[in-house]
Each structure stands twice: as C-alpha cells, then as structure tokens.
Symmetry: C2
Subunit: 311 residues, 2 copies
C-alpha cells in the first residue's frame, strides 16, 4: 500500500548503498486531511510516532518508532500525521531539545543526529524516510507560527498538512524547495567543486535553488555558469531525492559542458576543477593520493559521480 514501489528506485544506483531519505512506504492522507483527522489517528492504540528536536532523533535500540504512551506528561511543540502503514498511524512529534534529552535518559534510548542516522544504517531505511518527512514538516511548522500575509498567529490544521490564519483566513501549505544538483562532464572529466563548509578534502557536484520562472534545465545551466563559468549543452534528468535540511527536493541531472575553461566564483566556492575518470575512481575508493573524497552514498551527488566513474 506504499507510495513507492520497486519501479521507483532511483536509477543509476546499481548496488551502491541506498540513497538517503528516498525510501518511504506510508500511505499519506494529505488529500483527505480535515478537522479531527489527527485526533482520530492519535486515539488509535496502535499509533506510533517518531520524536525529534530539530535534527535530533529519539531512538529506542534500533528503532525510531515509539508508542504514544512515551509522551505522557510531555508537551509537544507540534504533532503531525505522516501517514499510515497497513492501517497503523505514524505520527511525528516535535519537542524542544531539553524535553528530548529527558526522554532519552531511560533504558535503551538515545538521541541520534538525523544525517548520521541516514548514513549509519542504524534504523531501517523506511524509518529514515519517515524521519525526512517529519523533519521537513516540523521545521516548517516551527518557522511559521505567524501569517506572512497579515502577521497574526497561525495554527496547525489538517493533521499538520496546513496552517490556518484566523486573522485573515489565509491557508498556508508546507514548503518544498526544488534544488538542481548536476554532474557536469566534458569527455572523460567531471566538474566538481568544494564549498568552505564541506569536510576537508570533499569535492561534490555543483548545485543551486531553482528560481521563479525557470525550468530545471535552465537552472542547471545558470548555476553551472554562475559558479564555474562553464556553459552547458544538453541536460538530462537522472534521479531525485528529498533532503530534509530543511525541506529540499534535490533534482539530480547530468549535463555536458561546452568547454573546459573555468571561471570559478570564489565567493560561492573554495575551489572547482575538472577530475579525470581515474582520479574519480580513486576518490570513490578512498585511495586518492591527496586524500580527496566525494560525498557518501546518502547524498545524491555520490550516485551521480559513481555513475560517471562507471562510464
């Protein structure tokens, strides 16, 4: 009954470890969300919830799913319905960090960082998918307590898939920002760059937000030119990924460069350069002489770069 099936696995992935946050098997109920939907599912004795404070996730052993009784006496910052799995409601509960730490101080419980969790394989990939949805939704609620139209307070409605303003009547919907991330290649070389905030030695694909009035293909061309001074020819979509920091849709593309000459924007990037296929292999396999690496499989960039290395 899930919304993803075997047909929706990201392409070009082969036998690599899975792309992070992209596996999700809940039946979402957004289209039917009305008043009372959250209360109805919360009253289900089988209901489960993930519990987060920002990117901190409550674990109990190898699971991020908890019974609602865990929350007795705790005041959530927000609670939303993620969906149902074979009829079992799955909720997301947002807490402040102090309340989360207090809950974690019992039994096998611990707090894990969402990004680490997606990499470590500590909990099932489906739970990582629920956590991605939870993190994006809860972060949106946390940053939208007021109405952008009139400044009055808004309140969570429709089981968390909307916020309503009683001041002006505006209805606000969760935001998802489309981002293009592109593997730009010229023959046997691929263009990779590094931002100052990356871990040392890490080079990745260029990326940027799609702007209003822009196609995916135009965004790829614009960002590649802005960041590296490279014009691209054909652009091909490869795969997509939800990225919950805070709520992005990563649109992975492959583009062909029209030339190798670079003009790197050093305000945006610390460095960008061409890497020959052999060098990319060394980076993927952790044997680059200068210790250079690419992002781990959790990130869409890894899969784009890996497919290039494979040829």
């Amino acid at each position: 009954m899930g919304s993803t099936g075997p047909g929706h696995r990201p392409r070009e992935q082969g036998t690599r470890p899975p792309l992070g946050f992209a596996v999700h098997d809940l039946l979402r109920h957004t289209s039917e969300a009305g008043e009372g939907l959250l209360e109805e599912h919360r009253a289900d004795p089988t209901a489960l919830t993930v519990v987060l404070a920002d990117v901190g996730v409550l674990l109990d052993g190898a699971s991020a799913l908890h019974g609602l009784a865990l929350l007795d006496g705790v005041e959530p910052m927000a609670q939303v319905l993620l969906g149902t799995r074979a009829g079992t409601p799955i909720l997301a509960t947002g807490l402040d960090p102090v309340a989360l730490q207090r809950l974690a101080a019992h039994g096998d419980r611990a707090v894990a960082d969402l990004r680490m969790l997606a990499t470590a394989g500590q909990v099932p990939q489906t739970q990582v998918g629920y956590l991605a949805q939870a993190r994006s939704l809860l972060a949106w609620h946390a940053t939208h307590p007021f109405c952008s139209r009139c400044g009055a307070a808004t309140r969570l409605s429709c089981a968390g898939s909307r916020r309503d303003c009683d001041g002006c009547g505006a209805r606000h919907f969760p935001r998802t920002d489309p981002v293009v991330i592109m593997r730009v290649s010229a023959g046997d070389a691929v263009l990779l760059g590094r931002q100052r905030r990356y871990p040392p030695g890490t080079y990745s694909c260029l990326a940027g937000f799609v702007e209003p009035g822009e196609t995916i293909e135009a965004a790829v061309a614009r960002e590649t030119f802005e960041e590296a001074g490279v014009r691209v020819g054909s652009v091909r979509y490869v795969l997509s990924q939800p990225w919950p920091f805070t709520s992005q849709l990563m649109i992975g593309c492959a583009a062909e460069a029209a030339h190798r000459a670079l003009d790197v924007d050093l305000d945006e990037l610390e460095d960008a350069r061409w890497f020959e296929r052999d060098e990319v292999h060394a980076m993927l396999e952790g044997r680059h002489p200068d210790g250079l690496v690419v992002p781990p499989p959790v990130a869409v960039a890894h899969h784009l770069i890996h497919a290039f290395a494979r040829g």
Copy 2:
C-alpha cells in the same frame, strides 16, 4: 549571455507551438544581489520594466517592456530586478489594478491577461518568460509583508530576491512549489482526467504537489493512485516548465500503469478515464465527436499528450 541556450529547449516538443513561460534569456543577478543593486540598475537610463497588477500585464503595442519614465508619479507596490539582457537592466513593477488601468489609458497601451498573452503570441516569447518570473516574484512579495517566524513587518531586499525581517533578523526567500504532472499510459491508452474548473470538454494529465520527504517518482505514483486508483510502474522525467499561477515548477513525467482498473476520486476530479490513441488524435486536432479537447500548447500537459499521440 542568457541562461538558456538551444540545448535547453524542452524535449518531445517537435514543431508544436512553444511551451509557455519556458523561454528566458536574462542573466539573473540573484547570487550577487546586495544592498543598492536595485537602485544601481534603476538609475541606468536604458533600464526597462514589465508592469503588472496580479495577472494583468501592461502592453504598449506588441511589447510588455517599458521605459521607467512611464512610472513617474506612480507609487509601485513592489519593484524587483529580473536580470540583465546584454547589459540592459530588466525590472518588474507591481501596481494596484487601478493604477495599472490608469497607465493603460494612453496611446497604444492596453492591459492583457498573462495566461492569454502566453497563448496569443502577442509579445515575444522571451517577454512571456520575463513576465512569468515577474508574476511569481511579485505575487510572493505581495503575500509576504510579514515575517512567518515573529509576525513583524518584512521589507524587500537584495533587489527583490529576498525579504528581511528587522524584528527577528529572519531572511525569507521566494518560494517555488514543485508539482508533478504525468502522462500515465497503458499500451495504446492514456489516462486523462478533468477537474470541475476546466473549460468544458477539456481533459488533461493528472498532477499534484510534491510533498515534503518525497521523490519526484514517488509523488507521481502517489498522486496517480490517490486521484485515479491506478498503480504505476516505471516513471520517466520528460520536461519541465515554470508556471506563474502563482509560482510552480511543473515537472512533466511519463509513467506506465500497472493495470487499467480505475477508482476515481470524485472529490478531486469530475471524471478520469482511458483514451485510446485514435481518440487522442481527434482531441488534438479538434475533431472529437463529443467536442473533447486537451489543453493548448502553452501547457506542459499538451506536449506530454502530443508525444503520446505521436507514439
């Protein structure tokens, strides 16, 4: 110096009239936008502006571009920089409807509806592209005078590519909503539906917003199942389009249905059914016996359906 080149024309388009809003040749300056950028470009005597009130566009003969002198004595609701074309700054100016009508009451001037304009070919397609960017940006500014975090007033900054809150220091960026629109096929038949708000006889592709924590492929599968009860197998990206009502990124896909049995959500749709290829040809050519038609070439749905008809 534009951000789109011949390589970025939407695929599967053939010799059809162009997809609306997808042609754009400005160099955007979002990455360098700081204080004073708008003022600097506004002081350029060659600067031009498009002028809108909601979806009403000011025309002067066959052009939507005007010199800034036109605005003498007029108080804009918002003014933003769209980009430059060979060094010429192109701005967008938002007015209230009364001010727009007053400006239109001179010489060859008139007010046109943006949707009509994209269809009619009255102004160059590049200008339709500027107008799409303008409409999305101006609508975002109009609906975000207050900070969603603290409720204080926000002000336009960075030439219109940001709004800043002096209350809490939050920086807000324009929103673009990713939407999947899919041609679902089963052999020689394609699944089309109609919403009650469509013009009489019009059938189109199913579509819906990408939700937080969801891939493009999962959104296609979820929406097709929610609206028509149809499970899909493989999903393939085809082309994308900016849709400025108000600020959507239409992600056009082709999906294969796993079965033909339907379970249509009649709250969402008035009808959905399978159309054989011959019937689709008749709809495209305006000779369907019941007068059924598909959307015009301005919409991405037209191009998805046309490519199916071609086989």
